[in-house]
Every structure is written in structure tokens, then in C-alpha cells.
Symmetry: C2
Subunit: 198 residues, 2 copies
DNA sequence: AGGATTATAGACCGACCGGTCTATAGACTG
DNA sequence: CAGTCTATAGACCGGTCGGTCTATAATCCT
């Protein structure tokens, strides 16, 4: 059938394989052959679905990661009325994920972001838009709690930065303390801000 | 002469080349030939100074980066009595560096950290120790300002996380707003903490 | 049914990867 | 000045890189 978008699952498996690779080792860290083996697909199929090759596949994976992140944030803030608690749950989820993978899988966005150069316009563009959307989401939630727009924007950037930075520290340390501590410090900050304007 | 340590500058050029590569493209993003060309050295000299090859060179570069970071933090906190101002200066320096390189060069530690796997024990070890030292440095400074040890530790983790995460966001966005905003939010937090205990 | 389009399959390519090896040059030591 | 050790130099290696190309299978449209 495939009425809406012709997406014959092989394409999805390729994207998933790239996403996992980005989590584990980054863009330059995986070869095409490894990717294709993970997806159970031959070479030709990659260039059929992604004429732009590895780079185009990476952009698709980045897009998927961003969508996933926005959805899970949505769910979290919907579930917990208190944004501080939602944030704590977010960071807690990151801890669990990191531990479950034995500190192998981090955030796919951060890794490829740092590997990218100004010439990689497609990837940097996708990442910039994605980060921007995530920040907007966070800022909007804070504003709805009565935090002034300007302050909310700053805190949103800080939250995203802290999230990525904490994951990074925890990953190389092989322990999740960094995430726990970052979460605690962040929550204290948010509560003073929400409290201040109430 | 070379009385203290036999370090015949070629070694240093190799380390510098690797450090720059880590800033720009990451460990897997550069080839040995490129590295050697940048250092103006032939192949053999690499394996003479670093029998462990590329990986060992990377560890040396990481170590150098950490030392440099600790030194510059030292200078900053020595120069500015108020830690909030010192922090602002730190973030400001990051902005300038990023802009000067046209968003090509970020933090070398973050990049290789995210590319590493749990198997890369040497690199992860060096990074974990380095981050730990930086956090200790920050926490110590806060404690000296009267912040309770437990809180100081948490904030130190947050500061380092925010630094890395802000640089990351700014780099892909091609603008330094993220660093500016992170800096502002962070300083507000620190000032309330220092104020609270005074 | 028949032709066009989409998807799968993998052989094949030149370039470059990280790494080893031998040869030579210099410096220090007796 | 011979002998040793350190440093520089680059040819060379097998393997893998990302990418192209042609062949075939499945699907869709009329």
C-alpha cells in the first residue's frame, strides 16, 4: 500500500543503525559496511534511499533523534505538572539509559555535533534547528509556570547544555553521579526561579 | 641539552597537531597522514615517540588540554576575586575563541569523550581524571566563598556540564548566544548560592 | 499481461586508513 | 674515533574506507 510515504522499513532499519552508531561511536567512528551489516542491507539499498550517502543518512538519523527527544519531553511535562519533577525524571531517564548500555550509548546529537565542521551545512543545520526546537519547548514550559520570557530562555539553554554536558561527564567516568548532581543543582535553580515569580 | 625531560620539540608538534585535530574534527575525523603533515614530521617519528600510535598520541593531547584548562582557570580565579566574574570571563573567552575560529574549533575534550567507547580505557581514564580535577578546582573555589561542600560539588559539575553543552550548542548554531545565555543563568545561580550563605 | 518504477543485491573501484619496517643521520659516551 | 643510542625519514603493507555500477526481483499502473 504505502499511500502516504513510500517507506519500506529497510530505510528505517538503516536510520536506526546509524542512530545507534552515532550514540556509540559517532559519525566517523563507524564504517558503511558495519552500518549495513547492522541493518541487514546491501550497499545498493543505501544509495537508493539516500542518494547523498552516509552524510544524508546521518541527517535523517539526527532528525529522528530530535523528534524522539521532543516527543519524550512532551510526555514528561504532560505527566508531571511540576516542571522541576519532569526535569528530574528526564535526567533520571538518561542515567538509566546510560547504565543499561554500560556507558556505551550517549546522546547521538552531541557526538555528531562535535564531529561536524562549518562545511557540514546539512548536519549543522539539522542540529541547530533541533536544539532550537528543544530549547523553545523547555522555555515555553517555564514561561507557562510564570517565569519571565527572557529568563526562561536563558534557563532553557542552560538546561539543554547541562543535560548534554552531564551525560558526557557520566559517560567517560563510567558512573552516573554527574547526572545526579547536575540534576539536583538544576532543580534548585528552577525552583528558586518559579518560586520568585509566584 | 635537554636535561630535565628529553622532549625534542617534534613530539610537541605532534601533540599540538592532534590537539587541533580533536578541536576541529575529532579523533576518527583525522587521518595520520594529515596529522603528520600538520606537524611536518614523517611516519616513523610518530611511532618513535608514541609506540602506542594514534591512540597514545591522543591521550597525550588530552592530558595537555586538561593541563591547559586547569592553568587558565587558575589564572582566571586569581585575577578576579569574585568567582561569578571569573566564570563570566571564562565563558567569554570560550565565545571569543569560537568566533575567532569561525566555529571550527571547540573543546577537544568533549569531542573525543563522545567518540570513545568503554574499551578505550586509556582515553576515558585520562578524561575522567581530567574532568574530575576541573570539577575539584571549581568546587574548591566555591567552598572558599562559603558555599557548603555538598552544594559546591553539585554546582561544580553543573558548571562544567554547562560549559561543554553551551559550547556545543553555539558551535552548531554558528552563533555564540548559547554561551552568553548559559553564562548569565549560571552566574545568577552562583550569586544566589554565595549570597545565601553570607 | 506488459511496461514502468521502485527496491534489493553485491561485485567492484581507487583512495586512504593505521601500522610496520629498514635505512640513515645526529648526538652523546667511552 | 669507535660504539651506542636517539631521532628522523619514508617506502611499503594489508585492510577498510565511502562510493559507483550493473543485474535482478518485486510492485504498481493501465
Amino acid at each position: 500500500m504505502n499511500t502516504a510515504a513510500s517507506t519500506p522499513q529497510t530505510r528505517d532499519r538503516l536510520i536506526a543503525a546509524m542512530l545507534d552508531a552515532l550514540r556509540c561511536r559517532g559519525y566517523h567512528g563507524v564504517g558503511l559496511s558495519e552500518l549495513l551489516a547492522a541493518a541487514g542491507a546491501p550497499k545498493g539499498v543505501l544509495y537508493h534511499h539516500f542518494p547523498g550517502g552516509k552524510a544524508e543518512l546521518a541527517v535523517a538519523a539526527v532528525q529522528l533523534a530530535i523528534d524522539g527527544m521532543l516527543v519524550s519531553l512532551d510526555r514528561l511535562f504532560e505527566k508531571h505538572a511540576d516542571p522541576a519533577i519532569a526535569l528530574a525524571a528526564w535526567m533520571d531517564g538518561a542515567q538509566k539509559q546510560l547504565r543499561a548500555s554500560e556507558f556505551e550509548r550517549g546522546c547521538p546529537l552531541a557526538t555528531i555535533a562535535l564531529e561536524s565542521t562549518p562545511n557540514d551545512v546539512a548536519i549543522r543545520g539539522a542540529l541547530a534547528n533541533g536544539f532550537s526546537a528543544i530549547r523553545a519547548h523547555l522555555a515555553g514550559t517555564l514561561e507557562r509556570q510564570g517565569v519571565a520570557a527572557a529568563i526562561a530562555g536563558q534557563i532553557a539553554v542552560l538546561i539543554l547544555a547541562a543535560y548534554e554536558g552531564a551525560l558526557l561527564q557520566a559517560r567517560v567516568a563510567g558512573r552516573t553521579d554527574a547526572i545526579r548532581d547536575t540534576s539536583a543543582a538544576l532543580i534548585a535553580l528552577i525552583n528558586t526561579q518559579i518560586g520568585a515569580t509566584k
